[in-house]
């Protein structure tokens, strides 16, 4: 579904260039749940921004279903985002003047869905994520976990196929985090959503089927969960992280 080929990203002026992404390549298959891990400054958010078309790459290609997104006009990009991508951010990014229902319905109104069917679709999605009782409330009236579930609902309600999550558990307590990760797993498993999640939290990453480790803008390691238990995967992730702690990237 998604093909990232040798992408590079530089920041800064001619005399002071920072290389945020350094020849990164990987594929994402339909229905995968991928976590991208790395410490702060490793380039994981830059990578996510490039894939989400909010930022552009300096070199390389990003292909989605065979289409190079750098070939698209701004109008096509906007359309691409609203129809294909769903976003979940660390700080929820819900509009505080809209109710939860309206925040979710917003994604549908952007795709020019028939206004009459919006409420039904929102209800159906809310049911799946267990937030029907807060639909009429405003974001400030509900908990962080509920807000994030609403964001998940918004990310998938319009039939988007790729969900991009940037530290989705970053602002949640451990119970709400666990709850959200289970919901993400369900969205991946039961609703067929492909998920690309950026995180620096090993526990979150352990829910993914594949984990990419990023360090200094390069892919440092890759871990496949296969049929292993989540707890095993968790320990393995921790091992990789421990290894990454030293300056091993120079050796590789």
């Amino acid at each position: 579904m998604l093909k990232v080929e040798n992408i590079e990203k530089y920041y800064g002026s001619a005399n002071n260039v920072t290389k945020a992404l350094d020849r990164i390549s990987f594929d994402v298959a339909d229905g995968e749940f991928i976590a991208i891990m790395g410490s702060s400054g490793s380039g994981k958010t830059t990578l996510l921004n490039c894939i989400s078309t909010i930022d552009t790459v300096s070199a390389g290609k990003i292909l989605l279903d065979g289409v190079d997104i750098s070939d698209l006009s701004p109008k096509e990009l906007a359309r691409f985002r609203r129809e294909r991508l769903g976003f979940v951010f660390q700080d929820f990014n819900l509009l505080d003047t809209l109710t939860i229902e309206e925040n979710i319905g917003l994604a549908l109104s952007l795709t020019y869905t028939n206004p009459r069917s919006v409420q039904k679709q929102v209800q159906a999605m809310a049911q799946k994520l267990g937030i029907t009782d807060i639909l009429n409330k405003f974001p400030y009236q509900v908990s962080g976990g509920q807000k994030q579930r609403a964001a998940c609902a918004r990310a998938m309600v319009a039939g988007q196929s790729l969900l991009l999550a940037d530290e989705p558990t970053g602002a949640l307590d451990s119970k709400a985090s666990k709850n959200l990760l289970e919901i993400l797993t369900r969205m991946n498993r039961d609703m067929g959503g492909t998920i690309l999640m950026v995180t620096h939290d090993a526990y979150s990453a352990s829910y993914a089927s594949r984990v990419l480790f990023l360090k200094d803008g390069r892919i440092f390691n890759e871990l496949l969960r296969g049929n292993r238990e989540r707890t095993d995967s968790y320990h393995e992730i921790l091992n990789v992280l421990a290894m990454m702690g030293g300056d091993i990237s120079d050796v590789i």
Partner: protein
């Protein structure tokens, strides 16, 4: 860094962040200075007797302006306080006392005010020259540009400004002094909360307020002072009730019609709007009130001006008129004798006006006009003029020659009466004969207000018919080729001498005296003393209201920026974002203007209706006056909207 330098730096930031507010303060200073210049100008006071009231009128207007601007400053500083609570909290956190912070904040505001004063005074000086030129041209006096500061006007402007800041700072000072660090640092923005929660109450309130608004408008239109005051009270109640219920009606409406909110940009536009209105319903109502006052001041100014000018124009065809209903009035005889010594016979005419008297129908034309249109029957009988006098007067006034066939009569009337009489063709009885209708003429003929040549109309009949009719009054009318300076004063003195000798009281004398030069002065004085202060008020009111709206809108920049950033990520087209922003602006700025239009339009139309018939015609037609009023209002308003929109578009759209 000392506290004063911190104040200075904050003041600079304030002027930059709240540029619209700063510009309004500059304009206020300019307006105040220019009008104060008029108050202290000896040149202005010397223009006419009526100009003596100008200082008083301007001072009253200035006091109103001071109050309004004080409200603006108070509102803006309070608003800044809320926005900057974290910063102020930090000052207290690092060990400053509340008192010191309050002082710092006051100093900061005073610096902004002071900084606005300097360009304001310079601009005010230019504006004063403009005002001077306007007033002088009204009086037909030459204008020469002279630069120079009036220290008195400067001092008064400073006083007003100090007063504004002292009045405005009282509240914010108290607020800072009682603030706690926790409240300041953790001051978080609240979300939408309906002012009135229960929908039945909301509905009731909106219905009641609309009913009050309609009754209020009707009462104001009734034209009675007491009823008008009650009406004004009701309208104020309507505005506050309307905005309090409107903010909660929007979400309530969408609860019922959920499919509507998901159309296009509706959701974004209306939710932002209702959140804003819920937070500032009272302010919105106050702004609507200010707009109403603006439009009424502006419209009243225009109507008054049109009335004054029309009155002058309709009467000013002659330079001098003396008239009396007593045939042998000595004072008139003396006046005419004095005038004849100075004005040659070819420029004047002495003649009589007669009544067409019958036992039955007395003013057959007057009652016809009154029935068909708006006309007050001043004379209860039709007035007549000899054709020979009419022909001579036409020649004197430079009008085309006319003829009168035997057995016919002409009508000379005001243009609006000619329109009423368009189907007129009746034969009239006068002086024992029957006369057929021979035509209508409508040049200016001193037929308005003092009714020298008939009230609105006069019948021109063959000389012998007039002579056989009843005498009404005698007139001496003159039109001189050149203005006669000082003549009128001397004439009045001569007449007064006669009256003094006869021990008459002025009002007991049957004598009418008209001088075009005096009338021109009086009209100019009326415009300067009534119309200009009204414009002054209107300008200050519009600027205050538009500034508050703009500050409110710009203060939302951060929230809008976050909103549009998110919408961009979610895939909204840029065009759609621009559309949403435009709609948000359109609704936000239309809302307070709309109810004000609904009130001021009927009010002003009613006011036009109170003017004398035939006085508001042509370019002074009520609809044209209203058009100019609203064009002026929306022009100034549009400047603010444009300023806000362009800043906003630049800052918030990704």
């Amino acid at each position: 860094m000392t506290l004063s330098s911190l104040s200075m730096r904050n003041a600079k930031r304030q002027a930059r962040d709240y540029l619209v507010y700063f510009v309004t303060m500059v304009m206020t200073a300019a307006l105040m200075y220019s009008f104060n210049g008029l108050v202290f100008s000896q040149e202005m006071l010397n223009l006419g007797k009526m100009m003596e009231v100008l200082p008083m009128v301007v001072t009253i207007a200035s006091i109103v302006v001071v109050c309004i601007i004080a409200w603006l400053v108070q509102y803006t500083t309070n608003f800044m306080l809320s926005r900057r609570s974290r910063e102020l909290g930090t000052y207290i956190l690092i060990g400053l006392e509340n008192k010191q912070v309050a002082k710092m904040f006051f100093r900061e505001n005073l610096i902004v005010g002071g900084a606005a004063l300097i360009p304001g005074l310079l601009l005010g000086n230019l504006l004063y020259q403009g005002l001077r030129a306007l007033v002088l041209s009204l009086f037909g006096k030459p204008f020469s540009f002279t630069l120079g500061f009036s220290p008195k006007a400067l001092a008064l402007t400073l006083c007003y400004f100090l007063l504004i800041y002292l009045m405005a700072q009282r509240k914010s000072r108290k607020r800072i002094r009682s603030m706690k660090i926790y409240d300041l640092i953790y001051f978080e923005r609240k979300n939408e909360e309906a002012v009135i929660q229960k929908s039945s109450n909301r509905k009731k309130l909106s219905i009641i307020s609309i009913v009050l608004g309609v009754i209020g408008t009707l009462l104001i239109m009734a034209g009675d002072l007491t009823l008008g005051l009650i009406g004004a009270g009701l309208i104020i109640a309507f505005l506050y009730g309307f905005f309090a219920s409107f903010a909660s009606s929007v979400p309530a409406y969408f609860e019922k019609h959920s499919e509507k909110k998901y159309q296009g940009q509706t959701l974004i536009v209306f939710r932002s709007l209702s959140a804003k209105l819920a937070a500032m319903g009272v302010v919105m109502a106050t702004i609507a009130l200010l707009f109403t006052a603006t439009q009424i001041s502006e419209g009243a100014g225009l109507i008054f001006r049109a009335m004054f000018e029309s009155r002058y124009e309709q009467n000013s065809c002659f330079d001098l008129m003396i008239s009396s209903g007593t045939p042998q009035e000595e004072a008139m005889a003396k006046g005419v004798e004095f005038a004849k010594e100075r004005i040659s016979e070819e420029y004047s005419r002495e003649y009589n006006i007669y009544f067409r008297e019958e036992t039955q129908n007395t003013d057959v034309i007057g009652s016809y006009i009154a029935k068909k249109g708006d006309y007050y029957r001043y004379y209860k009988m039709d007035t007549l003029m000899k054709f020979s006098d009419y022909a001579a007067l036409r020649k004197l006034l430079g009008y085309s020659e006319v003829t009168l066939e035997p057995g016919k009569y002409l009508i000379h009337c005001q243009p609006y009466i000619a329109r009423i009489l368009k189907d007129w063709s009746q034969t009239v009885e006068a002086g024992g004969s029957s006369l057929e209708f021979g035509g209508i003429y409508t040049e200016r003929f001193a037929q308005y207000l003092w009714c020298v040549n008939g009230h609105g109309y006069i019948l021109i009949v063959p000389d012998e018919i007039a002579e056989a009719s009843v005498f009404s009054h005698r007139v001496y009318a003159a039109k001189t080729p050149e203005p006669m300076d000082g003549f009128y004063g001397e004439l009045k003195e001569q007449i007064s001498a006669v009256l003094r000798a006869k021990d008459y009281e002025d009002h007991n004398v049957d004598l009418f005296l008209y001088s075009r030069a005096e009338d021109e002065k009086e009209t100019a004085s009326e415009i300067a003393t009534i119309v200009f202060p009204l414009y002054y008020l209107a300008l200050a009111l519009t600027m205050t209201a538009a500034t508050i709206l703009t500050i409110q809108q710009l203060s939302e920049a951060d929230r809008y920026r976050r909103q549009f950033n998110l919408l961009q990520k979610l895939g909204m087209d840029r065009e759609d974002m621009e559309k949403a922003l435009r709609k948000q602006f359109a609704f936000f700025y239309t809302l307070p203007a709309l109810p004000s239009l609904l009130i001021s339009i009927p009010f002003l139309l009613n006011m036009c209706g109170a003017a004398d018939s035939g006085s508001l015609v042509g370019a002074s037609h009520p609809l044209i006056l209203l058009g100019i009023t609203f064009a002026l209002f929306f022009f100034i308003y549009a400047i603010y909207i444009f300023m806000a929109y362009s800043t906003m578009k630049r800052n918030v759209l990704p």
